[in-house]
Symmetry: C2
Subunit: 184 residues, 2 copies
DNA sequence: CCTACCGATCGGTAGG
DNA sequence: CCTACCGATCGGTAGG
């Protein structure tokens, strides 16, 4: 997963992976049927994990504002804890077979729907003041998705601090009145 | 550029490119010295164009709020007008040779500095109310950079509408008071 | 898990 | 710009 994240799927050969494990190239095929299966492991695990956490956050927080906060925090959490998987998920999923690619696209749509639902719910109750909930959703997803590009474990901000900062910016973007802002 | 954007650099062969142009594989080498030179053309053009437009926006707008608005709009403009180049710029630049990769990284830092400067200037004058200008800069860059993932020319929103919406969200995130909000 | 190998394809070149 | 080719490397397999 680290090699796929660093070099990309097509620029990583099975012999590169084998060397990292002190094996000969052909020996990998005792553990996996194909190179694409390795990619599928990383991508499908990340997709499942993202969706699982979003479902959990949604079930735990009925109120739109803390629900969205928790969605953001759990994204930051997984992204920082399983960075290689998350990078491969974002960058390399398009190299899967068409069927698997379609399954990932479905999971991705599921995931985004949790964010969209929270934002639309909040817009309806007046918790969020937002002109276009669809664009607002894409904006929030931009914030969390782009994280894989700039997060460095050795950076000064902890994952929790990053999550808190992003949620502050999300609140502002969605017009949450500062005095009624809740902490989650 | 289209093939690199759609399939990725390493999954596109010189013979794929040649076929697209109704040429034989070897004939491409009458026009380019190497495959990497083709990648470099797309990436360096995008990097130059992004930086050029950011410099222009910065020179034209001394005031932080309209300056940042214009930075966002010009990013959206180039991204939507030269989508393939922008996608290749974001996705494939890491496959350049180390020297060229470093040059791109430098251009990228230059580009981000224009955004950071506008946000720090605005934070100093009180135009923006933001707790951490560095994170705020990364957030704004997230909004515009992630655009390449979801923008579709056939979508309902025009580039200008997307730019306007993003600027509204940016204003909110940076704590621009709605009543004093300027249009640029 | 290794050795030895398969056919296919890669980026690139020579010579015209 | 084409034909024909180079050596290298690819994902994957056979047989042990």
């Amino acid at each position: 997963m680290r090699l796929f994240a660093e070099r990309g799927y097509h620029a990583t050969s099975m012999r590169d992976i084998a060397a990292e494990l002190d094996l000969q190239g052909g020996s990998l095929y005792a553990h996996t049927a194909s190179k694409e299966d390795l990619l599928w492991q990383a991508v499908s695990r990340a997709a499942d994990e993202f969706v699982r956490r979003a479902a959990e956050a949604t079930a735990a927080e009925p109120d739109p504002i803390p629900r969205l906060h928790r969605l953001v925090l759990s994204h930051v959490d997984y992204m920082t804890a399983a960075r290689d998987n998350a990078i491969v998920f974002h960058h390399e999923w398009r190299f899967l077979s068409p069927e698997r690619r379609e399954r990932v696209a479905g999971r991705r749509r599921e995931y985004e729907a949790y964010f969209r639902q929270a934002i639309e719910d909040g817009a309806r109750t007046g918790a969020f003041r937002v002109s276009d909930p669809k664009v607002a959703t894409l904006a929030v997803l931009s914030l969390v998705n782009w994280l894989y590009q700039w997060y460095r474990p050795e950076g000064v901000l902890s994952p929790a601090e990053i999550g808190g900062q992003l949620n502050g910016l999300v609140d502002g973007a969605l017009g949450v009145a500062p005095q009624t802002e809740r902490r989650s």
